[in-house]
Amino acid sequence: MSGGPRAFGALLAHDGVCLVEYATERTGMRIVDQWTEPSRSQSIEEALDRLRAMIDARGARQPRVAIAVEQFGVFHHTMTLPGATDDVLQPVIRREVQRVFGVSDPVIAFARGAANERREPGRADERTAPRQLFVAGAPRAVIDALGAAFRGSDIRVEIATVVPKTIHSLYKATGSSPEPTAVLVCLEGGPQLAFFLDGRLELAIDPPIALEGEPPSIPTIIDQFERGAVYFRQQFRGAQATRVLLAAAPTEFDALASALESRMGVHVKPLFAAASTPAAIVAMGAVLEARHGSALDLFPHPPTLGQRMSQALRGPNAVVGATAAAAAIAAIWAVLQVASLASTRNDSAKVETGVRQAIAQVGPSKSVAQRRADVSRQLEFLRATTREHAALAAELSSLAGALPAAVRFDSIAVTRSKAGWAATIVGEAAGETTAQAVRALDQFYGAVRSRSDVASPNLDQFDYAAAKPQSDTTAAEKQAIAARGPITLQFKMSFTLTPARGNAAAAGAQP
């Protein structure tokens, strides 16, 4: 046996309660044991009490159980409707059930079977194709009793289904042969008969009302079968079941099988050889149905979390849910914002206090540091000033040194500018001939232009000096003319000296 919770199948009926314990193995399911409580129950509550007592007697922890319910007003119906959603089908099925079974407020459940597309291929549509529906229903009180019986217990009900659907599951377990087949299950309450055509459940016939405590005899069962076969033939264009899958008590199986074969001309096979009684077979059918993809389930399962959420977000509850969620999110956001603001303010207050105290503590150190920095900057400024003056003196000295003998300055003006020092030279160049004088001036101009520390050199003015009357010429001038030559050119030259500007680069210096 597997280590998981123990699993059971059960048949719940007026005439008795049957419980089957099974184990799931790699090759399928194996019946472990089975128990029958043959006492007649007066109500569904009484039958459920018996079932619970039987399960409790097994001492299983958190057992699983699949239940098939017979009688107690439970009914089954098959119908074919166009494909549609549950919301559309539900009211249609409800009205049909109320009309057919005369129950005013039934609890219904339905499961979809195979599609029965009869339209031409061009018009066929899987979504709207007529589809077989298996419908189960019961009075609301019965379903309420089912739910109440297991509420609060550790028993997990997998399914509460009807006997014809368990027969359907059993039939599918045999291979769903397309051969027209009848399934006959001889329960204590009477024979349950189902007809299958092309593997589909086409007809399910409940047993006739029988007297209390009187199990149906073989002739009664044969008659019931014969009437069912006739009806099946009439309804389905002469279809005739050639095979019967039989579930009957071991004591009457052979007699019933031979009677069916001889009278109806069919061949009979056991429906489920592993179980000894029809009730146990139906119980296992409920187990198989529980594993079906679209099981027919009447049990009022408590809604799952997803279903609760879905319910809560429908209609007026959707508005409530949306506004409540928005309010909750806004409240959380507001709390976070307020908390963040309070935290920031508290932190600021602490840091501000710390800064005030620290400023008071470092005050003397700050003035010392400031004095040190000022002394350092003063020294640097002094060095830079000295460098600047030395550089200017060196430039002027160098300029004077580059002066040819034939050129002399009349004036030099040097003025501080943003780019350095703006210099203007006014002077004379002399020679024996004009060519010599011009050559001397050009030599000087070329020397100035070639200096790397001179920018924007320009010869602003260039002219011959007016010859003085001989009588006005002084002796010194006469001597100079004799030395330098008679031709004199007056010129004005401007340029910018750009020596290293010490102060501009000095640390902390301001323009």
Binding site: T323, A327, Q337, L341, K366, A373, F409, V414, A506
Partner: protein
């Protein structure tokens, strides 16, 4: 949906209506409070950041500062001759210094006078933490005669509190005359302690 339909719906779903109204009230209060807090949060964070930055600067200063003996700190004063500014009251003294240095450099016929501010570019000035140095609103003009070498020697010995702005050298029959213009860097008297 009309008002009557809404009223009917509210009557039909009384509990849902109450919860919805309550949620809307909570939503409004939360949005108002949250938005107000968010509005104040941005400036509060900036202030907080500045305070932390100040604290970090103070911590960095504390870590970098090395205290000296009080006597050593008291000695941390440069002599008057190395000062880079002069109070306005002592401008005559500065003019005297310039004339003296010019004569010592070998220049003759030195004449000093005060003149309005010069149009040349202002000289660089030092940027101190504890005091302010400005360019004076006057200049000192110095006229003299002599050799070019003497002029260059003078230029090399100009006091640091003055800045040479202009040199004009002119040749005449008597020799070479010079005209120099100096700006003066001024500091307040209290800071220039050495000028007392």
């Amino acid at each position: 949906m009309t008002l009557a339909e809404l009223r009917a719906a509210m009557t039909r779903h009384r509990r849902q209506g109450f919860v919805t109204v309550l949620s809307l009230v909570v939503l409004a209060i939360a949005v108002t409070m949250g938005a107000g807090a968010k509005r104040q949060l941005a400036p509060a964070k900036i202030t907080n950041s500045r305070l932390h930055q100040s604290m970090n600067e103070i911590d960095a200063f504390r870590a970098a500062f090395k205290a000296a003996a009080p006597v050593e700190d008291a000695r941390l004063v440069l002599p008057d001759s190395l000062d880079v500014s002069v109070p306005h009251d002592l401008r005559m003294s500065m003019a005297g210094q310039l004339a003296t240095r010019a004569e010592r450099a070998g220049l003759s016929n030195v004449r000093v006078r005060f003149a309005p501010a010069d149009s040349a570019a202002p000289p660089p000035r030092p940027d101190f933490l504890g005091r302010t140095v400005t360019v004076g609103d006057y200049t000192i003009a110095l006229d003299c005669e002599g050799g070019f070498a003497a002029l260059l020697s003078f230029v090399n010995h100009v006091p640091a509190a003055t800045a040479l702005q202009r040199i004009i050298a002119s040749r005449s029959a008597k020799g070479v005359s010079y005209h120099l213009v100096f700006t003066v860097l001024e500091g307040d008297a209290s800071a220039d302690g050495q000028h007392g």
